[in-house]
Each structure stands twice: as structure tokens, then as C-alpha cells.
């Protein structure tokens, strides 16, 4: 039996770097008080750590203002905040069929409540959206464009710079979901002219679950959709309008923020380009291995130039959920099967309702891991012939 091989890094990175886990425990053991809520030195020190992390996140994303780095539970939480906080009744939103349910469901629920209408741009056979198509869908009442930087099913990295240019020409705010790209591909929020970038801490940024957030540019004001304690302006019953507290209600996830900070440390030391290049080499090996296996269909990996380490396949004659179960029990390989919370991607691929089998690479995967996955899929393919 193989050692445990984890190929589900698009769901969450695993394992976390030892340095991240140790930093979380040690820093939280020392600093685990309520940041920004008290005048004693330890609370001030905790708040300083949080502020320093905001500055580091701003640098990481090339975001203009550290005070507009807002922490949230994860990218879904941040996307809900930004989408619901920007639109008003009668507005129109443009997005894409590549999106995760973290974008699709907020849009669809707002549509069902008769608040907005929305249009979704398709992706082509290689897994990319056409920026000009997004531009053509923008109407006078379009209030927002929301696009994922990298698909969580196909791994394709979208031309955000071009989309940002088109949105700027139409003076429509652009929100970018960098859930699958942050930590692998440089995020150029300012250069992209993005109004907001939503991220999660537990995937490519190598932090724990439960921490994420968004960077907001200085010209965008997001209407708060929840209210509560912030530690500032407590005498008023009106929630503060100042960032970042405007969008942060309640005590922050300090443990998560420490882990996020440590994850960014790790990435700086290793180099995100180095990690990304290594993952792409493994992805190429995986694709080439699968392409030699009868019955395996691989989606959108002909050209790996603009990709992250994600590859989705189906195997003829066998349910994806069963492939995942066999990989797990018989080969000790963990993958994600099904629709990957991106139903419209699978609908377009023709893999609805059972979805596919997704292999997603992380910084600790090796050539041996990839070769084991290829051999395992070949064995399963032979067994179901």
C-alpha cells in the first residue's frame, strides 16, 4: 500500500507547513487575547499583529490600502459580503459559467428575491472566458462584474488584466475571486484595476480553515450587511463606516490570522513562482500519464501555460464517486469527486450530474505521488473494461 497521497489541495492544502502550525500554537499561546478590544499591552500587541498582517496581505495582493484589508471566514464569506454590499434593486451583474457556488449562489438568491438580474459568460473549449464577451454583456444598469481568477475544476487562469481593462472602460467595478490562484500566481489588484479581491487563507496561502477576506480599493464602498461590536466608536448604535471595521463585526479569528501570516512567510521563503513551476511540472506529468490510459477523458489541459495545479478527468464506465472511493481505499490516494461546487462548469463539460474526478496538487506533492495516481487510474480502468 502507498503512503497516504493527498491530491485534494484545491479543497484545502494539506499538510500545512510545520512552520505554520508551530507559529499558530506558539504565537497564539502568547498573544491569544482579543485584538483591538482592550487597553492592556497584550491586547494592543495582538491588534498590532493583526494590523501588520493586513499590511502583509496588502503587499501580497498589491492592494492599495492595508486598512481596506477585511478579514472574513473564507472567500465565500467575503464574496457574500462584497456582492450583497454592492448591488441594489434593479442592478445587473455579469459573471461567468466557471464560477464556484460561492459566487453563483449569492447571485442566484439575489435574483430569486427580485433584487438583481445576472448574465454568465461561457468559457471556451480550452477553459477560458473571452474578456470581450464579458464586455458585451455589460449594460447601463450593470453594477458589478465578478470573475474567478482560476477555475477550481479546470485549473485555467483567466485573463483578469484584460477583463479589468474592459470593466474600467465601462466604469463597472470588478471583483476577483482568487481562491485558487493566491499563493501560486502573483495577484496584481491595482494593475488589474480590481475593486475588490476575495481570498481564502486555507488553500494556496497554506493557512488554516476559517480565515479569509478581501482587499477593497479606495474608491469602492461596500455596504455592510451585518453589524455588531468592532472595538471602536462603541458609544454609537450605528456601525462604524471606517474600514476595515465597517465590514468586520465581532471578535476576529486571531488564530487564523496568525496562520495566514505564517503561511505567507512560508510562501515568501519558498517563492510562489518556484512552487507554481514545480506544480505545473507535476501537472504535466499527470496529464501525460492519464493521456496514455484508455478510457480517461481529461478536460482543458491541452496547453498548461495559464494553469494552476488542478486537473479533472472522467473514466469511462465508472461513476466518479466510485473512482474516488477506490483510489482512497485501494490506493491510499485522496481526490475530490462530484461537481466540485461548480455545477455550471460540469454542465458545460457534459459531466452533469455525476461530475468528475479532480486531482489537485500542492507544494508537498512529488513525482512519485503523480506516478502512483497514474498507475492507480490505469489499474481501475483495466478493472472496469
Amino acid at each position: 500500500m502507498n503512503p497516504f497521497i493527498y491530491l485534494d489541495n484545491a479543497a484545502t492544502s494539506y499538510p500545512k507547513p510545520r512552520e505554520v502550525l508551530e507559529s499558530m500554537v506558539e504565537t497564539y499561546a502568547h498573544l491569544g487575547v482579543s485584538p483591538g478590544r482592550g487597553g492592556y499591552d497584550r491586547a494592543v500587541e495582538a491588534e498590532a499583529f493583526v494590523h501588520e498582517t493586513r499590511k502583509r496581505v496588502a503587499r501580497f495582493f498589491n492592494a492599495p490600502d492595508p486598512d481596506r484589508i477585511v478579514f472574513a471566514h473564507n472567500a465565500t464569506d467575503a464574496l457574500n459580503m462584497v456582492i450583497q454590499g454592492l448591488v441594489a434593486p434593479g442592478d445587473h451583474v455579469v459573471s461567468t459559467r466557471l464560477e464556484h457556488n460561492s459566487v453563483l449562489r449569492p447571485l442566484h438568491h439575489l435574483h430569486l428575491q427580485n433584487v438583481i438580474t445576472y448574465d454568465l459568460a461561457p468559457f471556451d473549449g480550452r477553459g477560458f472566458v473571452d474578456p470581450e464577451d464579458i464586455g458585451r454583456r455589460i449594460r447601463p444598469e450593470t453594477r458589478l462584474v465578478v470573475v474567478s481568477h482560476a477555475s477550481n475544476v479546470l485549473g485555467t487562469v483567466q485573463p483578469i488584466g484584460d477583463i479589468g481593462r474592459i470593466c474600467a472602460e465601462h466604469e463597472v467595478p470588478l471583483v476577483v475571486d482568487v481562491t485558487q490562484s493566491a499563493g501560486r500566481i502573483p495577484i496584481h489588484m491595482t494593475e488589474w484595476r480590481a475593486s475588490a479581491v476575495a481570498f481564502t487563507g486555507h488553500k494556496g496561502l497554506l493557512g488554516p480553515t476559517g480565515i479569509g477576506g478581501m482587499a477593497v480599493d479606495s474608491e469602492t464602498d461596500i455596504r455592510p450587511t451585518r453589524f455588531g461590536g468592532t472595538g471602536v466608536e462603541s458609544k454609537s448604535l450605528i456601525h462604524t463606516e471606517a474600514y476595515p471595521h465597517r465590514l468586520e463585526a465581532g471578535t476576529l479569528n486571531l488564530m487564523g490570522i496568525i496562520g495566514l501570516s505564517a503561511g505567507m512567510d512560508y510562501l515568501r521563503q519558498e517563492g510562489i513562482d518556484t512552487i507554481h513551476r514545480r506544480e505545473l511540472k507535476l501537472l504535466e506529468r499527470l496529464r501525460d500519464g492519464f493521456s496514455k490510459t484508455d478510457g480517461v477523458e481529461i478536460y482543458c489541459t491541452e496547453d498548461l501555460t495559464d494553469h494552476v495545479g488542478v486537473l479533472t478527468v472522467t473514466l469511462r464506465g465508472i461513476e466518479p464517486a466510485d473512482v474516488g472511493a477506490i483510489l482512497d481505499a485501494d490506493f491510499n490516494i485522496a481526490v475530490r469527486t462530484g461537481l466540485h461546487c461548480a455545477p455550471l462548469v460540469h454542465e458545460t463539460l457534459g459531466t452533469t450530474p455525476r461530475g468528475g474526478v479532480r486531482f489537485s496538487l500542492g507544494p508537498f506533492n512529488t513525482r512519485e505521488d503523480v506516478d502512483s495516481a497514474v498507475s492507480a487510474m490505469a489499474a481501475i480502468a483495466r478493472a472496469v473494461e
Binding site: E319, I326, R336, R354, A379, I380
Partner: protein, 124 residues
Amino acid sequence: MQPPEGHRPLPPPDSGDPSRRVRRIGGRDIVFDVDDFFWDPNAWSEEAARILARESGLDTLTDDHWRVIHFLREFYFTNGRAPMNRQLKTGLGMSLMSIEALFPGGIKHGARRLAGLPNPKSCA
């Protein structure tokens, strides 16, 4: 046997809910979900399993088939959930690839469905 906690109550036959449908099998009305999984594991019978097996192209359920089916049911009613992948493999002493090959429809739509276990709904 008592059903595990959290099992779904039987809907009224005329509920009109498109997520479930009633079929007459072996002289009994049985409720199935949209994927043809038993709505209520207690509605299962060996006769129903044989009929569903024939529908899936399996004319005879062998001892190996029954061993898998009975293991799944016993585990489910003892633990309140289906076995995890390794529990299934270890409990039966069979690879999952063997179970896959044994049932038309494989592990989920074959073995699990014929055993009358609920449709697993995790992200599919």
C-alpha cells in the same frame, strides 16, 4: 431494527414531491429518490433487492453479492451511517475494485443502492 437517527420520514404517497417517486415492487409500494435509492432503508427486502438487481442486469445475486449487501445493511443499522471506504474494504476483506466489478452500477449505484442504503448526498 430501528432506523438510525436522522433518517428521512416517509413522505405521503401523494406528496407530489419530484425528488421522490413510489414504485410497486413485490406487491409493496416503495418510495425511491430521483436516483432510485430507497427513501427508507426499512422498506428494503431481499425480494426488492433481487428485483432491482434484475433491472440492473444482474439475473442472480450470488453469495458474494449477498455478503456485500448484508454487510452494508448491518453496518448501517449498527452505526447509523454507511461504512467509510476502508471499513468496507476491511470488513469484507475485498478490494473496492472487486466490489465495483461485482455490481453493475458499481459501489454506489450498485451495491449501496441494492442494499437499500440512503443516497449519499456529499457534493454531487
